[in-house]
Symmetry: C2
Subunit: 189 residues, 2 copies
Amino acid sequence: MGVTRVYSYTLAGKAGVTPEQVRKDFSEYGIKGNRRGGYLTESLIRAIEVIFSRDRKSNVVVVGMGNLGQALSRYERFAGRGINIVATFDIDPYKHKSRSDIHVYPMERLEEITERFGVTVAILAVPEISAQEVCDELVNLGIRGIVNFSPVLLKVPQYVVVNNVNLSDEIESVILSVRRMKEEQTLFL
Amino acid sequence: MGVTRVYSYTLAGKAGVTPEQVRKDFSEYGIKGNRRGGYLTESLIRAIEVIFSRDRKSNVVVVGMGNLGQALSRYERFAGRGINIVATFDIDPYKHKSRSDIHVYPMERLEEITERFGVTVAILAVPEISAQEVCDELVNLGIRGIVNFSPVLLKVPQYVVVNNVNLSDEIESVILSVRRMKEEQTLFL
DNA sequence: TGTATTTTGTGAATTGTTTCACAATAGATC
DNA sequence: GATCTATTGTGAAACAATTCACAAAATACA
């Protein structure tokens, strides 16, 4: 778009943080700007690509093809971020064979496919009851990172990274904040 | 289940935090336990229900019935947390009328339905391009809280609460951590 | 080329959060 | 009922993150 330089306050505005934050973070990672000249977009983008490994693609699998698993496997935005869903799995793959979506494999083929595609990260969207069991299986197959959508605190070895996403919590926290704000407001009337 | 008392370290273990954290948080909200006796489950649950407004149900709407919106509208776990999806909306409701799911209304009926059911919180799962526009509409109709699934920083008045959920970020952060850990490990070999 | 101005880069100050450590005490045990 | 023990409750200490404030440097402009 022809923009060659950006300033800490521009980025801060877009990201909803303070300019100091932006500068401190950049400085932390050795990203240098020019005093008075701001940051050069090209080199900035390259630096960020390296820091976030955006220069490489990463193969991941989705395990559990319920509502959420299906939605995640069709989510187009992952591609643009180097997140490449190579396969999806379910205990009952025939249940979901319906449309011409991404192929659903039975759990038995997990090992073969994770190995073939060098998958180290899995998205876990199975029911609460089987979450820990499936998690153990994944860890045994060499999975090193799990994005966990079940409301369960997974027990994993220290070398495995887990990121918990709890949709109920996200919504509840907004409901709570809204209630709190309303209560505050009525106090002033 | 007949359990009448719990201890800070029990809860801490289940939640993956320290016992001190549990006690400090409880103390912050005036939840009292008995020295040596722990916390009484019954009164603890009641206190938490009040703090998180779990004693009341909250009506919410889902706006945008793409993959994610559909998955969210079918997510059974919300009910058990007092989150009640009363209606879903899309610009093109006929596209999604297929199965006997929850009813999809056209955007034109947003006002009528939010008013009727006293909806103050909306789940926004529309494409990036229309996110701000739909958000403005929601705010105009009196929505006070938004759970935003589009990768956009929404501009809203101060009295509106926004909670951003970025699925690409969640997955990317795990990918990153895994790469970092692997790099660390190879250094030791 | 010199001066004014803008923006970075970063120590220091502030603010916020987590952990420590231990007195107070309720309950268990004899 | 006296003593022992486990657990809470919370100030103080340590740690972490954010904001402030300003010198240093690069550009703009005369």
